[in-house]
């Protein structure tokens, strides 16, 4: 007999599933590594692997074309967050030279059920994002780096991710092949 009142909202379950899976992963990493810095590094590496695949999906989905400048890239990154996480971080605090900006997150579904215990003060919970951005941008010949400078989990009002453009990667022929 079909039961009433127990219908699941598949969209909600799916996004919660992602949040919880990521949470389970982070807590497993915390168990496996003694050093919190290693956890951050591992998250970044995983993010990189995700990023290099995610960019394919992003390009296919949005049919984006080449960005004219880093400002446009910033907007594309913002669009990426909207597509995949359903949030629109604000772009702000451009540096004078235009090669560095901040993404300000007021909400982040990844943090939905998260509370950091006292022994995790150095943990960058969302560090996977820095890896995702690095991986995704590397695949489109942009060398960037990013780091969290404000974190809601640590009591800040917003989460701020600082993204810095380093250089455009040139196609290089591997050594020994012409």
């Amino acid at each position: 007999m079909a039961r009433q009142g127990n219908k699941l909202d598949s969209k909600k379950v799916n996004s919660e599933m992602f949040t919880l899976t990521y949470g389970a992963l982070v807590s497993q990493l915390m168990k496996d590594y003694d050093n919190v810095e290693d956890v951050n590094k591992q998250l970044d590496r995983m993010g990189y692997n995700i990023g290099i695949r995610l960019i394919e999906d992003f390009l296919a989905r949005t049919q984006s074309t080449r960005c004219q400048d880093f400002k446009e890239t910033a907007e594309k990154i913002q669009l990426g967050f909207r597509i995949y996480l359903g949030i629109s971080p604000n772009i702000s605090n451009w540096s004078a030279s235009g090669d560095e900006f901040s993404l300000i997150f007021e909400t982040n579904p990844m943090l939905e059920f998260v509370e950091l215990p006292d022994n995790c003060t150095n943990l960058k919970y969302c560090n996977v994002l820095t890896g995702v951005l690095r991986g995704a941008c590397e695949m489109i010949q942009l060398d960037i780096t990013s780091k969290f400078i404000q974190d809601q989990l640590k009591g800040d009002n917003v989460t701020e991710l600082r993204v810095k453009f380093i250089k455009t990667i040139q196609d290089a022929i591997p050594a020994g092949e012409d």
């Binding site: 039961r3 009142g5 127990n6 379950v13 919660e16 049919q63 995949y84």
Partner: protein, 164 residues
């Protein structure tokens, strides 16, 4: 340009990373270890345990074990794995057999039998998920899996009878 939320791929990717992590990524510079199935299973367990609590807290109480099982096979499965379980069988004595003919984490892989051996690590997370979900609903069970042809997965659930 589509603006719809596309977070499904994220779960696929994070799951792939979990498997790769438990697989012992060779880039660690360490020796290649055997896949740590229990680690993946445990992560699945904690997800299942939490997701079922969030999904059922406002629902009606389940009639019995079979009713619970049906809910997991249809509603929960459809929400997470995009389709309900294809076949649910039981001997009415605590053994359940769930069959998914196109399992989400396997259906993008080759259908050949070449990698059948390594397919298991993409399924243990779900074994844990099932165990976790059942555990939170008060059913202690042992969940195992069987893959004979890709991407068909059979989950065997053996409910442990309450002691005393």
């Amino acid at each position: 340009m589509t603006q719809a939320l596309a977070d499904e791929i994220l779960l696929d990717l994070i799951h792939a990373e979990i498997v790769a992590y438990a697989n012992g990524s060779p880039s660690d510079g360490e020796e290649k270890k055997d896949t740590d199935y229990s680690k993946i299973e445990l992560m699945g367990f904690s997800c299942g345990y939490r997701i079922i609590e969030r999904s059922t807290k406002d629902g009606a109480r389940f009639k019995d074990e079979l009713d619970t099982m049906k809910f997991i096979c249809t509603e929960l499965w459809a929400a997470i794995y995009k389709k309900p379980i294809d076949n649910l069988r039981t001997n009415y004595q605590g053994t359940y057999l769930l069959q998914d003919n196109s399992f989400r984490f396997l259906n993008k892989m080759s259908n050949g039998s070449q990698y059948l051996e390594s397919a298991g690590k993409y399924v243990v997370f779900t074994c844990g998920l099932l165990r976790g979900a059942l555990s939170n609903l008060g059913i202690n069970a042992i969940v195992s899996m069987e893959i004979n042809t890709m991407p068909v997965v059979k989950f065997h659930i053996q409910v442990s009878q309450p002691q005393n």
